[in-house]
């Protein structure tokens, strides 16, 4: 039996006997913790670390899980999201894993969490100082598609030599009339290191800038940890004549009426029917609970009862 099968089958029990708190052994946690501290001290720089096997295949967030395991403590309140939702298979698996391995409290409420592990989104609700956001990163190197050799990208970061990325973005503009990168938009951290924000939509990129929370990034397969401390300058790469812009939608969220959130398009039928809803389920739910209504929302429960 693999651990994966085991914890998938048994949710929400006491921490698994025979395993260390948070699964990783203390030696591994120490090594990861040292890498995290150096990552915080050198914002945006990718610190190499000795990645350990986690009971999930690569691509399922093993890097983020190792960071979370090294950071998490008994008094944390954990939230896990995948594409903005708390109830996807990936998010549920990771949350169950940490509950079994640590017995920590969990929440779906962004504001109540002390530790949030995420894949592909930054929550819409602004984060606060007591929070740590852990990103699962598949590919940490922003220059990888432009320069496949690690020895070369390492030199480029050392010299802060990022001309190739500017050339690539400018080629985009001349071909498409705009920068076509919609996810994983490259940023410059603290005016020094070019960084990949993990595949978050361009929409979320400005949320990294001067965020009150500590942001940690873990890449398991490529064995890199990097960080954006609170209140750190994070600037998307752009040009004077083509400033950075986030995506906009033709309508508001059909459920909560929000004009300010990242929307997913949902196909309703095969006749072209569709609606747009918030990708952040907690944000959308909170707005609906507060009485906000989109054009396809069910009437407010209390009103219906009256």
């Amino acid at each position: 039996m693999t651990l994966q099968q085991d914890y998938a089958a048994n949710a929400a029990q006491a921490p698994l006997e025979g395993y260390n708190f948070a699964f990783l052994d203390e030696q591994t946690k120490r090594m990861i913790r040292r890498a995290i501290l150096k990552a915080v001290a050198i914002p945006g720089y990718q610190v190499p670390f000795g990645s350990r096997e986690m009971p999930l295949p690569y691509g399922w967030g093993t890097g983020g899980m190792q960071v979370t395991a090294a950071v998490i403590g008994g008094s944390d309140v954990l939230k896990v999201i995948d594409q903005g939702a708390d109830d996807t298979t990936n998010a549920v698996s990771i949350r169950r894993f940490f509950v079994r391995m640590t017995n920590v409290a969990t929440t779906e409420k962004t504001r109540d969490a002390t530790l949030i592990q995420t894949r592909h989104r930054v929550p819409e609700t602004p984060l606060h100082e007591g929070q740590i956001l852990v990103y699962q990163v598949p590919i940490p190197e922003p220059l990888r598609w432009l320069e496949p050799r690690e020895t070369e990208t390492r030199k480029m970061h050392a010299l802060s030599e990022y001309g190739v990325m500017h050339v690539k973005l400018y080629e985009d503009i001349s071909q498409h009339g705009h920068i076509s990168t919609a996810y994983d938009y490259p940023v410059l951290v603290n005016g020094r290191y070019m960084m990949r924000c993990s595949p978050i939509p361009k929409f979320d990129t400005p949320k990294l800038h001067m965020n009150a929370a500590l942001q940690l990034f873990g890449a398991g397969r490529e064995k890199r940890i990097y960080a954006v401390p609170p209140y750190t300058d994070v600037k998307p790469l752009d040009f004077d004549d083509h400033p950075f812009e986030v995506e906009r939608w033709p309508e508001a969220c059909a459920l909560c009426g929000s004009h300010d959130s990242f929307l997913d398009e949902v196909i309703l039928d095969d006749k072209g029917g569709r609606m747009f809803v918030c990708s952040d389920t907690d944000y959308c739910g909170e707005r609906q609970a507060a009485g906000h209504r989109g054009h396809m929302a069910a009437p407010y429960k209390d009103e219906a009862a009256e």
């Binding site: 946690k29 913790r33 001290a41 720089y45 050392a158």
Partner: protein, 203 residues
């Protein structure tokens, strides 16, 4: 059971898994928010003459992979025994070979004796744990700015010579090379990452 040695090392964490996690979060929060004083809200064993918060830092970070340099006045048999017994960390052959350094504010060497890392591997810059007489003072003497600081923070000298602070300020010119520093007094600690820019006098 082993027989007692002539001297038994001082105690370390009584619950290593949970206490190292709590100590790490203090190290993480203070490094992420330079200048903010944090309290270690639990006890841990430590050899005499060293701030409990720095002892907890060593127990949390040191192991076989981290050569430790014990600065003047701290390189005692009791300190060596304690460190070896609880962490297994080797003593560095010289200050420049150390990953972790324990120092006393009254007996500081020049900062350039320690490893600053390289431009390609800046993470090899050393981490300094410095025991200081106080983290609070009536008069601020310098201003810190940079990641983790919302605008700026006014800081006292914390018992270190101004000349040493000027050495540290000059290291900003070689960023991303540099030193990451914790200042500890009793159970209180402040973090000072290499990314913090220090200026003197009025802000």
């Amino acid at each position: 059971m082993t027989t007692l040695q002539m001297t038994t090392p001082a105690a370390g964490f009584h619950d290593p898994v949970q206490q190292s996690q709590r100590a790490f979060r203090i190290l993480l929060d203070t490094m992420a928010r330079p200048g903010r004083v944090m309290d270690q809200d639990f006890d841990c064993g430590h050899p005499g003459g060293i701030a409990p918060v720095l002892a907890a830092g060593l127990l949390t970070l040191a192991d076989l992979d981290t050569p430790v340099w014990l600065g003047e006045g701290l390189d005692t048999p009791a300190m060596r025994d304690w460190l070896r017994f609880h962490t297994g960390a080797p003593l560095a052959t010289g200050p420049g070979q150390a990953a972790l350094v324990l120092l006393d504010a009254a007996r500081m060497p020049a900062l350039d004796v320690f490893s600053l890392g390289s431009d390609e591997a800046p993470e090899r810059g050393a981490t300094l744990l410095v025991q200081v007489p106080s983290l609070h003072a009536a008069a601020a003497a310098m201003t810190w700015r940079g990641p983790g600081i919302k605008e700026s923070v006014a800081m006292p000298l914390c018992g270190l010579d101004e000349a040493l602070w000027r050495q540290r300020a000059q290291l900003s010119a070689v960023f991303p090379r540099g030193l990451d520093i914790y200042l500890g007094c009793g159970r209180q600690v402040i973090g000072l990452p290499r990314s913090t820019v220090i200026t003197f006098g009025e802000a």
